[in-house]
Amino acid sequence: MVILKAERIRKVFNGTVALDNVSFELKKGEVLGVIGPNGAGKTTLIHILLGLITPDEGYVEVFGKDLKKNRAEILHHVNFASNYVSLPLSLTPWENLLVYALVYNVNHPEKRCREVLELFELTDVSNRPSRRLSSGQMMRLALAKCMINDPQILLLDEPAASLDPEIALRIRKLLRRMCIEKGVSIIYTSHNLRDIEEISDRILFLEKGKIVAIEEKSVLIQRYGTLEGFFFRSLYDEF
């Protein structure tokens, strides 16, 4: 079942083509790993899927509805975390989560805050100003905020960049479990190809704003051995 559909997305910034004719679908319960070199358009794509940037051409449909026309309704069931976006450092994790629980109109907001704090092992630091958290704890807080509304679609931009390997592994397992048990769909970007290889069902390779490949992970692995092999092969073929 298709839950998100991007159709012929094109975006140009000051004459530079950031995305060109990008079309793909995301299925329910699927993890789509988005890879590509710096400047490939990964983050722009995520921002367009979140309604934060309007595409010049094309459209995005989420749950069968046009994102532009049904922004608030759709975003109620979507969430996002990025290594490049923070939460207010003056607020405690508890306060930050409570604010977003209210923004997302969550039932029993305090109970939900306790649950996600526990899920990301932040209960002990929940009343400490967020500025006193380590970068790994801050990323876990961002992920906790991301789960506050029990989203059906998660957009994660380099979520594991500040996490130590053990926590990163546990979070990837948690995300996989959410896909299987709750049917959550995830779009996951990372420069760490091993992360992507481990978590994704399908891979979307972007380069210079265009889709170079979109394929089942198993097919790519069979063909290239590893995702790394596929990545470099695709790049070198360009040169």
């Binding site: 975006k11 983050t43 934060l52 940037i53 975003l75 976006v85 207010p88 997302y104």
Partner: protein, 263 residues
């Protein structure tokens, strides 16, 4: 419009102020310093010249009412800047919170800031200078409502300019209101201004509020006509500022600048 989400914007600011001494100072410190400093200056001038008795009342009244306008403007623009400084803007705008709900939340924050500053300044003026602004009675209400409305217009335009030009425009949060001050005839009557500046004053709503304040303090009947003119002008200002705001929001989405603001 979902009022729970609007409330979340207000609660977020309340959490911020609860935990930050510097921000609490910003609400209390500057209004207190203003009223202390300029209050004593007027008392000194009064002692120097016996012909100035209403001057103290004019000056203190103007000081308190100008602060209402300034706080109303800052309540909107600084709260918006807080989300930029915290790199939280993306989280706000990828949530179901609509831009109108967000703006209404900022407006409510500004109301709270205005109430705090107004009562604190009035209290200090009452204790130190025996100036009771509440003697103006019900006239005070349309005066303050008009000034708050103008503060909102300036605040909304400030936010629009930050959306358009990025964080570099943040200086406007402190500067833009003062651009209107000379033409608002805050501390002097409009007829003090030279002819061409009087024309500018005529299209600035706050100039009517300050003229009205002086008339009321002098004991003359409440100038309905002036207040009505101010209200009409404020209506136009708010409509124009909202138009600019929504246009800036759409432009920011098209130009993809929101994720970059504050980077």
């Amino acid at each position: 419009m979902n009022f729970k989400r609007v409330g979340a914007v207000v609660i977020r600011q309340a959490f911020l102020y609860r935990r930050s001494f510097a921000r609490i100072l910003e609400v209390f410190y500057w209004p207190a310093i203003d009223i202390l400093l300029w209050g004593f200056v007027t008392v000194y001038l009064l002692r120097s010249s016996k012909e100035l008795p209403p001057f103290v009342s004019f000056f203190l009244g103007a000081l308190i009412l100008w602060d209402i306008l300034f706080r109303a403007q800052q309540g909107i623009s600084l709260s918006f800047l807080e989300d930029i400084w915290a790199r939280n803007l993306v989280n706000v705008f990828i949530s179901p919170l609509t831009i109108s709900e967000y703006l209404l939340g900022l407006i409510l924050v500004s109301v709270l800031k205005v109430i705090i500053a107004f009562f604190m300044m009035s209290f200090i003026a009452g204790i130190l200078y025996s100036f009771n602004i509440f003697k103006m009675g019900l006239s005070l209400l349309p005066l303050t409502v008009n000034l708050v409305a103008m503060g909102w217009s300036i605040g909304i335009i400030t936010v629009s300019l930050i959306l358009r030009f990025g964080q570099e425009a943040e200086v406007l949060a402190w500067a833009l209101a003062f651009l209107f001050m000379p033409f608002s005839a805050v501390f002097y009557p409009v007829d003090t201004l030279p002819g061409f500046l009087r024309v500018i004053a005529m299209i600035i709503p706050s100039s009517y509020s300050f003229e009205a304040m002086r008339i009321v303090i002098n004991g003359s009947p409440f100038p309905f006509k002036l207040m009505l003119t101010a209200a009409v002008l404020n209506g136009i200002y708010i409509l124009i500022s909202l138009r600019i705001f929504y246009q800036s929001w759409r432009n920011a989405l098209e130009r993809g600048t929101i994720p970059k603001i504050g980077e």
